[in-house]
C-alpha cells in the first residue's frame, strides 16, 4: 500500500463512505492527504445541486463543504426550504417551512397564527389556535432528491402549552406523482405519545427538541420526476383541535 500513488488511494477511499474516509485520515500521512483530497469528497457531494444553491463562502476544501452542508442546512427558495446532506452517505435532505406548506385556514388569524420561535430553522412557524378542519399539505419536486435512495417524509412539530383534540390518531398520506389520490390509503399516525394508541406511526422526539411523525416513505429512482404530495389531515371528527405548532415537513433518507 505504501507504493500506491496518492490518487490511487484517493480512488479507493472514494469507494468507501464518508465515515471511513474520516477514519482513514488518522491512519498515516499518505492516507491523510488522500483522505482529505477534493477528489474523494467531491465523490460524496451530490452530483447535482438544487437550482438556487450557492456554496457558502470561505470553505477551503470540498471536505469542508461537505461537512458544512451536513451540519448547517442552507436556506433556499426564499428561505422556505432548507437543504442539507445526510452525513453517512451524502444524500440530499430537505425541510419545507410551514409557510411553504398549504395549511387550510392558515391565512385566517382566528385559526392559525404565524409566530417566530428562537429554535426554529425558519423565520415563521404555524401555531394552531383552534380549527375543526385540520389539513396540512406539502409538495416537493422529486427531482430535487438523491437517486436510488429510500426517503421518508416527516412532519416536524411541537405542542404549545395546551394542546387539545390530538389524542386520537390522524391521517397521514404520501402520494407520488402520477398516482391518483383515490388510490392512496392514508395511514393513521399518532401525534401524541399515548401509550394506548398502538396503531401506525408515532411521534418521536428529535434531537433538536421538536417532534416528528412519519407521513410516508418512497424510493427515488434515477429519472423520477414530478411532485410528491405529503399531507396530514384530521377532518372527520367533529371537534376542535388546538395547540399544534408546525415547523415544517422534513424529507430525509431512511437509514438502515
Amino acid at each position: 500500500m505504501n507504493n500506491l500513488p496518492e490518487d490511487c488511494i484517493a480512488k479507493i477511499l472514494s469507494l468507501t463512505s464518508p465515515r471511513d474516509v474520516c477514519r482513514s485520515s488518522a491512519v498515516s500521512r499518505c492516507f491523510r492527504s488522500a483522505a482529505d483530497s477534493d477528489h474523494v469528497w467531491n465523490h460524496f457531494l451530490p452530483s447535482e445541486f438544487p437550482e438556487d444553491f450557492r456554496a457558502p463562502e470561505g470553505l477551503p476544501t470540498k471536505k469542508h463543504l461537505f461537512f458544512s452542508l451536513v451540519h448547517n442546512p442552507l436556506l433556499l427558495h426564499g428561505s422556505q426550504l432548507s437543504f442539507s446532506l445526510e452525513r453517512s452517505t451524502g444524500n440530499k435532505c430537505y425541510m419545507m417551512a410551514a409557510r411553504a406548506l398549504n395549511i387550510t385556514w392558515g391565512h385566517d388569524q382566528r385559526y392559525w397564527q404565524w409566530i417566530s420561535l428562537p429554535d426554529a430553522r425558519f423565520k415563521e412557524v404555524a401555531a394552531l389556535k383552534m380549527v375543526w378542519w385540520l389539513d396540512i399539505t406539502g409538495k416537493i419536486n422529486i427531482s430535487l432528491l438523491s437517486d436510488n435512495t429510500l426517503y421518508a417524509a416527516y412532519l416536524v412539530f411541537r405542542w404549545n402549552l395546551d394542546p387539545y383534540g390530538f389524542r386520537q390518531p390522524v391521517e397521514a398520506s404520501l402520494v407520488l406523482a402520477g398516482t391518483e389520490h383515490d388510490d392512496v390509503q392514508p395511514s393513521m399516525v399518532s401525534l401524541m405519545q399515548n401509550p394506548g394508541s398502538e396503531q401506525g406511526q408515532r411521534a418521536e422526539l428529535r434531537s433538536d427538541d421538536w417532534y416528528e411523525v412519519q407521513l410516508g416513505h418512497f424510493f427515488k429512482r434515477r429519472g423520477d420526476m414530478g411532485e410528491i404530495e405529503m399531507s396530514l389531515k384530521e377532518t372527520k371528527r367533529p371537534f376542535e383541535k388546538k395547540g399544534l405548532i408546525v415547523h415544517g415537513i422534513e424529507i430525509r433518507p431512511v437509514l438502515p
Partner: protein, 452 residues
C-alpha cells in the same frame, strides 16, 4: 470445414504476433499481441514508437516500475480472459470475483501495477476490493493490514476534527439562551437564595482563575464531602486523560481570551468580580502544574466515581439519553446546583457531536470546563449531577475498537478515537435544572460552570 481448409488455416493461426515486454528487473517475456494490447499503456507504447517496438527481444517494451513479473502474469491472465469478445457479462463477473481473491499485499501490488498500465477495469476491480477491506475498520486495523507507518503526530490525528464541529444546534441554542436566561432570573427571585457559601465562592474562584488564565482552582463541592480515595481505581482510566501541562494551561489561556471576546459577557463579568469575597485557603494561584494535575486527578476520579465511568472513557458509548445512575441526591443538591448556577459560574461545555441542552457562553477553541449541576429524575426529565465533570482535551485516545460497529455518528466515530473536541457551543440551562437530554457526549470533562 474440410481437412484441407483446416490445414491451410492452422499455419496462419500459428503465426500470431508477439510483443516482448521487459519488466524492471530485467526479465523479458513475450506475450501474444492482442493480449498485451489490451493494456492501454502497452498499446500506446507500440503505437507511439512505431511498428518495431516490442517485436523482438532487443527492443522489448519496458514496463513501468510498479509492474513486477508476478503482477504482470496476473494482469496478463486478466487480459487473456477479457479480451475474448464472446464472453457474457455474467461470465466476466464470475471470473472477476474469483480473480480478485488474493491476499491484501498482492491486491495492492495489483492495483498499483494495473494503474501504471492504465488498465482501468482492473484498477476499478482492485480498488473496489481494497475499499471493501478498508470499510468499517479502525485506523489501527488499517495500519496493520497494510503495514503502514504510524507517522502522524498526536496533534495531527486530532486535527481533522477541529473544523468539523459546527453544530447547527449551536445557533438555535444561542437564541434559546436569551429566553431561558430570563426565565431563570425570574425563578431565582421566586426561590429565594439558599446559598451555600462554599459553592458560590468556589465557583467564583474558579471563574476568576479561569478568567485569569489559570484553571484548576477548581476546589469543588466535594471538599464538603469526605472523598474516598479510590484514586487507584480510576487513576488509570482518567489520569491519562489529563493533557500535558503546557497544553492544559495554554488552552485555558486561549479560552479565557476567547471568553473575553464573547459578547453579552461584560455585565456578567462585573457580577462575578463583585461577588468575590473570601478567598479559599487552599487557593493556589500560581498554576503549579503538578498540583493542578493532582487536583484534576482527584476531581476526575471523583467524577468518575460518582457517574458512570463509561462516561469518562467515552469509548463504546451507545447513543442513548444520558442517564446516570446517581440516586437520591435530588432535593438538596438541586438547590445547591441551582445556586451554583446562579452563582455565576462559567459553563463551558464541550460535547463533540451531540449538544446537550445548556445555556451558556460561546467558547472557541479547546477548553477546560467545569460543570456542576443536578442529578436525579423527575417526571420525564433526567438531569444530572455534573460535578467534577471535567472537560479536557484528551491526550490519550481511547482505543477505537471499543466502539461498537453500529455507531452512526460520523464525526463521532472519529471523535471517539481522537478525542479532541473542537467546539463552539452555547448551552442552555433548561428551566431550573441542567438537563442533559439527547445523546451521551462522547467524551466530556467539564471543568467549570457559569451561568451568565
Amino acid at each position: 470445414m474440410s481437412e484441407a481448409d483446416m490445414a491451410i488455416i492452422k499455419p496462419e493461426m500459428m503465426m500470431k504476433s508477439y510483443i516482448w515486454l521487459e519488466t524492471t528487473d530485467g526479465s523479458i517475456q513475450q506475450v501474444e499481441q492482442e493480449i498485451a494490447m489490451y493494456c492501454p499503456m502497452i498499446c500506446h507504447e507500440v503505437l507511439q514508437k512505431g511498428l518495431g517496438a516490442g517485436s523482438s527481444k532487443n527492443c522489448a517494451i519496458s514496463l513501468p516500475q510498479r509492474v513486477n513479473p508476478a503482477m504482470l502474469s496476473l494482469i496478463l491472465d486478466y487480459c487473456r480472459f477479457h479480451q475474448v469478445p464472446g464472453r457474457s457479462n455474467k461470465e466476466r463477473k464470475v471470473h472477476d470475483e474469483k480473480f480478485i481473491r488474493m491476499d491484501t499485499k498482492r491486491l495492492c501490488e495489483l492495483a498499483s501495477a494495473a494503474d501504471s498500465l492504465q488498465l482501468k477495469p482492473l484498477v476499478d476491480l482492485s480498488s473496489r476490493a481494497l475499499a471493501r477491506i478498508i470499510e468499517g475498520k479502525t485506523p489501527e486495523e488499517i495500519r496493520e493490514i497494510f503495514h503502514l507507518p504510524d507517522d502522524l503526530t498526536e496533534e495531527e490525528k486530532l486535527e481533522p476534527l477541529k473544523n468539523l464541529m459546527d453544530d447547527p444546534r449551536i445557533r438555535l441554542l444561542n437564541r434559546l439562551y436569551a429566553k431561558k436566561r430570563k426565565e431563570l432570573k425570574e425563578r431565582e427571585k421566586l426561590k429565594g437564595k439558599e446559598v451555600e457559601e462554599r459553592v458560590d465562592e468556589r465557583s467564583v474562584d474558579d471563574l476568576l482563575s479561569f478568567i485569569n488564565g489559570k484553571d484548576h482552582k477548581v476546589v469543588k463541592t466535594s471538599k464538603s464531602k469526605k472523598k474516598n480515595k479510590k484514586r487507584k481505581e480510576h487513576k488509570n482510566k482518567v489520569s491519562h486523560n489529563l493533557h500535558s501541562k503546557q497544553q492544559g494551561v495554554q488552552i485555558v489561556d486561549e479560552t479565557a481570551s476567547s471568553l473575553g471576546g464573547v459578547s453579552n459577557l461584560p455585565s456578567m463579568e462585573d457580577d462575578i468580580f463583585s461577588l468575590k469575597t473570601d478567598s479559599e485557603d487552599g487557593y493556589v494561584d500560581d498554576g503549579m502544574d503538578p498540583v493542578l494535575k493532582e487536583m484534576l486527578d482527584r476531581e476526575v476520579e471523583d467524577f468518575a466515581r460518582r457517574l458512570n465511568s463509561s462516561w469518562v472513557l467515552s469509548s463504546g458509548q451507545e447513543r442513548q439519553p444520558v442517564h446516570f445512575s446517581i440516586n437520591g441526591n435530588g432535593a438538596t443538591r438541586r438547590l445547591t446546583a441551582f445556586q451554583v448556577m446562579l452563582g455565576s459560574l462559567i459553563l463551558l461545555m464541550v460535547f463533540g457531536w451531540q449538544v446537550p441542552e445548556f445555556c451558556g457562553v460561546t467558547v472557541k477553541g479547546n477548553s477546560r470546563v467545569r460543570i456542576s449541576g443536578l442529578t436525579g429524575t423527575e417526571g420525564e426529565d433526567e438531569w444530572f449531577d455534573l460535578s467534577y465533570l471535567i472537560l479536557n482535551e484528551a491526550s490519550d485516545p481511547p482505543k477505537y475498537d471499543n466502539v461498537p460497529a453500529d455507531r452512526e455518528e460520523l464525526v463521532g466515530d472519529v471523535l471517539s478515537f481522537t478525542l479532541l473536541f473542537p467546539f463552539e457551543l452555547q448551552l442552555c440551562i433548561s428551566e431550573l435544572e441542567l438537563t442533559l437530554r439527547g445523546h451521551k457526549p462522547l467524551y466530556a470533562h467539564i471543568i467549570e460552570l457559569r451561568e451568565l
